[in-house]
């Protein structure tokens, strides 16, 4: 056989063999047999110098080309075999190394969501004192002394005669005095009721107050805003049901129910088979409250609402005991 043909045949066979190699040792013996000093290729290359000049040049060129090609194949295969080897040592099912982190309280988490929703609608996020005066907690909100409405909220009194605010509504009047009209704000905060605690009531809890004052604010506006933010919070379309409710600082006053999010309104034990969950009190701001806030009720009108933040969080995460919020138990808090 022609020497060139033989070299080409060696190359073809070697390439065929290398396809089947999947271990480093096989690769080594292949290298030895194909490229080693005693290999047929080496032998032929040594013989090239004895060929006539014409043939020598062609055979030498081909032989070097083949040798280089085979060496490259070997090197490439070697590195891929090594990588495969390395990968075998990694157990990819092993748990990842998570960085240590703490946890925000669910009240902070959901409060932030609400703040962001309302901030995007141009609402101020307002704060106020937790230890309040009777004036701001009651009188300014159209709840005079000895009015039966004071009974609706059992109150903690300090020895100095102040009260732990029973709702976030006092912020309404403070904010009206601070900013004037028009005004739109929410005020999340802690509130206090002097009553026994159980799985669904605590004597310290959180409310979110909402207030919007402008020209011609209507009941239709209130319902639209309520639907909007509730749908965002629960990331599903919720229906809102409005019915009469009495709160002295609004007129008219409503209770706003929302579609029971546990049964989607079909009726379950949580909603007493009504399909509705009582969610918040609301209404149009009472003219006397606007006056207390220094705003002319002839020129401006507004809506206000207030709801329990803890209850919303409990609905959102299906938490069954409100007292967990103030338990300080890391096993609970770690879940958020």
């Amino acid at each position: 056989m022609d020497i060139v043909e033989e070299i080409k045949e060696i190359a073809r066979r070697a390439k065929e063999q290398v396809e089947k190699i999947n271990s480093a040792s096989d690769l080594l013996s292949w290298e030895k047999s194909v490229l080693g000093r005693k290999s047929r290729l080496s032998q032929l290359m040594r013989n090239i110098k004895d060929l006539p000049l014409e043939q020598r040049r062609e055979a030498g060129h081909i032989a070097n080309q083949v040798k280089q090609e085979l060496q490259e194949i070997a090197a490439k295969l070697k590195s891929s075999l090594q990588q495969a080897e390395k990968q075998k040592q990694v157990d990819v099912t092993w748990p990842g190394e998570k960085p240590q982190r703490g946890h925000l309280h669910p009240v902070s988490l959901v409060q932030r969501e609400l703040e962001d929703i309302f901030a995007s609608l141009g609402f101020i996020i307002e704060d106020g004192p937790e230890l309040e005066s009777e004036y701001y907690n009651f009188d300014a909100l159209n709840i005079p002394a000895y009015h039966p409405a004071r009974d609706m909220q059992d109150t903690f009194f300090t020895v100095g005669g102040d009260v732990l605010r029973t709702h976030t509504s006092p912020i309404q009047v403070r904010a009206m005095q601070k900013y004037g009209a028009p005004l739109r704000l929410i005020a999340p905060g802690r509130v206090f009721r002097y009553e026994a605690s159980d799985a669904s009531h605590d004597f310290v809890f959180h409310q979110v107050e909402g207030l919007m004052i402008d020209k011609d604010i209507s009941i239709a506006n209130l319902i639209a805003i309520a639907k909007e933010f509730l749908s965002r919070i629960f990331t599903q379309d919720v229906e809102v049901r409005v019915r009469p409710g009495f709160f002295p600082f609004v007129e008219p006053g409503f209770e706003m129910d929302l579609t029971c999010i546990l049964c989607q309104g079909k009726g379950c034990s949580a909603c007493k088979r009504t399909g509705w969950m009582e969610f918040m009190g609301a209404g149009l701001v009472h003219p006397r409250v606007l006056e207390a806030g220094g705003i002319d009720p002839q020129e401006f009108s507004g809506f206000a609402f207030g709801f329990g933040l803890d209850r919303l969080i409990m609905l959102k995460y299906r938490i069954d005991d409100i007292r967990l919020f103030h338990s300080g138990d890391v096993r609970f808090l770690q879940q958020f």
Binding site: R101, G102, H103, L104, H105, R112, A119, G122, F123, I124, I125, P129, E130, L131, S133, Y135, Y146, P148, D151, F156, F157, T158, V159, G160, D162, P182, R190, F203, V204, M212, D214, K215, I217, S218, I219, A220, N221, I223, A224, I225, E228, V240, R241, V242, R243, P244, G245, F246, E251, P252, G253, L284, S301, F325, H326, G328, D329, V330, R331, L333
Partner: protein
């Protein structure tokens, strides 16, 4: 408040085929919240009236008998019965198998099965009143008496609920939702709402005429207080006190009122029907028929119907005879003048009292009655007149011999009904959609407001029962129209307003940043604790009484102080968690309270201020073995880095800032030389109290002061043009040398030393006693050129020289 459907239907004819549930929902959507609908007949399922046809002895028991009972449909069943008052021909209440009864009136309801009692078949049982919840209607003389239904004119087999006229629905109305509606505290008021909702006529209350004679010498009423707005009295002779007839007793029973006697029951009946509380006095206790309505004398004793004696004050209003109170006006009657079996002459009272007076007395004395609950809402004085006519009408029906001897009506300043003018534009704007004015006027008319429409204006006369404070403003009219129209018929629409940007909110932004850092970088978990503490803040944390805000009415005696610091509750949380954690890190941001003036005025006058209530930030680390002090310090320093606050320093507690009680190794943080707070190790006794082995480090800072000192004006530093040279040294110092001193010396020795930080401290064999080896890194850099090694060598040499001279530091050789 409970409302019986059949009672409402005496006044309104509701559309046919409405269920009680639908009626309840209509009321909820337009008027008041109905919390529950109870089907009274359910409790009498599988119970019938039976007739005893034969009584046979029980072969195996002396006290039991075999009652052969006709249960209707021609069926005679044998029922074992222990009733001592059993007789042949008696009509009895039979609970058949499948019904639910309460054994001997106690425990839970039990389902009755067909059974053998002492070997004899018993097809259900013959009931005593307490076994089927009827003890209030059939008072039992002994525990072994069964109900005698022989007074009923019904056939055996009649379902029991129907036979007793107790097959009714009761709506439970949330009293809170009635707070502003004095007119809804009786069936008639609710019926009026239904007539407006369903657009059906409202029937009149059946009453006879009465003759008022204010010059009567049989009965005289002298009102000596403006807190009594109206007082009607009626002297009635010829009553016979005894149990009420069935229609009266059963009607009260259905709405949860216990029948007492016919006179008292009548007054209660009228109250439940109309919402007007009445009272009946035994006339023999009012000599000469002279009634005085006056303020009580201070400390005047009053023996009330509830068996208790009260000491009155001058702010209480009483009804009195010539010498003493016979009733606490509008709240409770007196014991002596109460109706008894021997009463033959009665004085009925139907009056109107000031709501604030009633409420104040009722609260102060702790007496809440069905009467006070109504008066404190502000009743219509016209209702007192109707109430009197109604009770006299009923009393005449009840007794053949009755004689109404005198009726007086003392009403000096009649109530003026409110008149309100409302423009249609106003109504439309408030509701947020166009309303037809004739529809609005129609709704108001259905609620008995008289309305004159002129163009777009309605002149509205409010009925007296809504004029006592409930309705006085155009806004109140908006509510009337909108609620009857139905809030569900209002289409939601987002407001169209001018854009105005909210002011920047630095505090909230900073609070978020800090919470994020503490949580996600410092590995701390946020907690919320109740803001209450006990005396421990005085005894263990060193607060003075004068600084503390005490509660008048704490929820528990150990929650009587508003927290002046977050620390005690946070420490408790740390140690609580150590029961199931190896280590724990927590933080809280919340208000703390001290008895010093804050920036919050109590009223707009601004002449007095609420107690101080800044936000504090506290954190704590606890663990079984590790040393957390430097980690705590690092958390604070990392936070300051994160906020780019660089003008801070730490200062050990001592001369300038005292060591506070409960704290060791207290280290204050100063920003702009202002005291922000400190980190420290709580004293051992505070931890030992929890009986848990743990190392603890805590820190508490004033968040408001921190925020005040935070100015986010951070700017970038250009990147260095020339590389820095890093050099490690280990130097042996006497033990008492502090790191801060070392840094000071190095900085004074070399202008090129940019950063200096330690990485190891070593005490050990190779180090002489009383010494320590500190290994640290110095980064040298020159802003203008690349440093040569000989330049760095020279700096090192100088540093080592000065460390030796000033601090006795020697380069470590091994």
């Amino acid at each position: 408040m409970k409302v019986a459907l059949s009672w409402l239907e005496k006044f309104v004819q509701l559309p046919p085929n409405l269920s009680a549930k639908e009626i309840a929902e209509a009321l909820t959507l337009s008027t008041v919240e109905v919390e529950e609908v109870v089907d009274l007949s359910e409790q009498f399922n599988n119970m019938v009236v039976g007739k005893i046809v034969e009584i046979k002895p029980h072969p195996n028991a002396d006290k039991l008998r075999l009652a052969m009972t006709d249960i209707g449909g021609g069926e005679i069943k044998q029922i074992v019965c222990g009733g001592t008052n059993l007789f042949t021909g008696m009509l009895v209440a039979v609970a058949l198998p499948g019904s639910f009864v309460k054994w001997h009136g106690q425990g839970d309801l039990v389902k009755l099965e067909k059974a053998k009692i002492r070997g004899e078949e018993s097809f259900g049982m013959i009931c005593a009143a307490e076994e089927i919840g009827l003890a209030d209607l059939f008072p039992q003389a002994t525990g072994t008496e069964i109900i005698n239904l022989s007074f009923l004119e019904v056939e055996p087999g009649t379902p029991l609920g129907k036979a007793l006229s107790l097959d009714d629905f009761v709506l439970e109305i949330d009293n809170k939702s009635l707070t502003n509606r004095p007119d809804l505290w009786g069936h008639y008021g609710i019926a009026r709402e239904l007539s407006a909702i369903y657009q059906v006529d409202l029937g009149k209350v059946p009453v006879d005429r009465i003759n008022i004679d204010n010059k009567s010498n049989i009965l005289r009423v002298n009102i000596k207080s403006s807190d009594c707005r109206r007082y009607l009295g009626a002297m009635v002779q010829g009553v016979k006190v005894g149990p009420s007839p069935w229609w009266l007793a059963s009607q009260l029973f259905k709405v949860g009122i216990r029948p007492i006697n016919n006179i008292v029951d009548l007054t209660n009946y009228v109250m439940l029907e109309l919402g007007q509380p009445l009272h009946a006095f035994d006339a023999s206790y009012i000599p000469g028929g002279d009634i005085v309505v006056r303020p009580a004398n201070s400390d005047e004793p009053f023996q009330a119907l509830d068996g208790k004696e009260y000491k009155l004050s001058a702010t209480d209003l009483v009804i009195a005879n010539h010498k003493q109170p016979i009733a606490l006006a509008g709240i409770i009657g007196g014991a002596d003048s109460a109706i008894s079996d021997v009463t033959s002459a009665v004085i009925f009272e139907s009056a109107n009292f000031d709501p604030v007076t009633i409420r104040r007395s009722s609260k102060r004395l702790g007496i809440r009655t069905d009467s006070s609950a109504r008066f404190e809402k502000g009743l219509d004085p016209e209702l007192a007149y109707l109430g009197m006519r109604r009770v006299l009408t009923l009393v005449s029906k009840l007794f053949d011999e009755v004689k109404i001897e005198a009726v007086v009506d003392n009403y000096l300043e009649p109530l003026q009904p409110a008149v309100i003018t409302v423009n249609l534009d106003f109504l439309n704007k408030k509701i947020g959609q166009e309303i037809d004015i004739s529809e609005a006027a129609d709704i108001l008319r259905r609620l008995d407001f008289s309305t004159k429409v002129k163009g777009k204006t309605m002149e509205i006369k409010v009925p007296t029962w809504r004029s006592t404070g409930d309705i006085s403003l155009p806004e109140d009219i908006v509510e009337e129209v909108a609620r009857i129209l139905g809030y569900g018929n209002i289409r939601p629409s987002l407001p169209i307003v001018k854009l105005y940007p909210p002011p920047p909110d630095r505090m909230r932004k900073l609070k978020r940043q800090i919470k994020n850092y503490l949580t996600f970088s410092a590995d701390l978990t946020e907690v919320l604790s109740y803001p209450f503490v006990d005396e421990v803040v005085k005894d263990k944390w060193g607060f003075n009484d004068g600084d503390l805000v005490y509660l008048q009415n704490p929820i528990a005696s150990n929650l009587n102080i508003l927290r002046p610091t977050l620390l005690p509750n946070l420490l408790k949380f740390l140690l609580d968690n150590m029961r199931w954690q190896e280590q724990v890190g927590l933080f809280e941001i919340g208000r703390v309270f001290r008895y010093q003036p804050s920036e919050w005025p109590r009223t707009p006058k601004g002449d007095s201020f609420l107690p101080w209530q800044d936000y504090h930030l506290a954190f704590g680390l606890a663990g079984k073995s590790a040393e957390y002090y430097l980690r705590a310090k690092g958390i604070v320093e990392g936070l300051l880095d994160y906020l780019h606050i660089s003008d801070y320093k730490w200062q050990e507690a001592g001369d300038e800032f005292a060591v506070e009680m409960g704290k060791t190794l207290q280290l204050y943080l100063l920003i702009n030389n202002e005291n922000i707070g400190s980190i420290f190790i709580p004293n051992q006794d505070l931890i030992k109290a929890y009986d848990i082995e743990s190392e603890v480090v805590m820190g508490e800072f004033n968040f408001n002061i921190l925020a005040r000192n935070y100015h986010s004006q951070h700017q970038y530093t250009p990147l260095p043009k020339y590389p820095s040279v890093v050099y490690d040294l280990a130097v042996i110092f006497p033990s008492e040398v502090k790191w801060e001193e070392i840094v000071g010396v190095i900085k004074s020795a070399s202008n090129l030393a940019r950063k200096i930080y330690p990485f190891d401290v070593y005490h050990g064999k190779q180090i002489p006693a009383g010494h320590k080896s500190i290994a640290f890194t110095i980064e040298f850099a020159d802003p203008d050129k690349t440093l040569t090694s000989s330049e760095v060598e020279a700096e090192i040499k100088n540093i080592l020289k000065l460390l030796d001279e000033k601090l006795g530091g020697k380069l470590r050789q091994n």
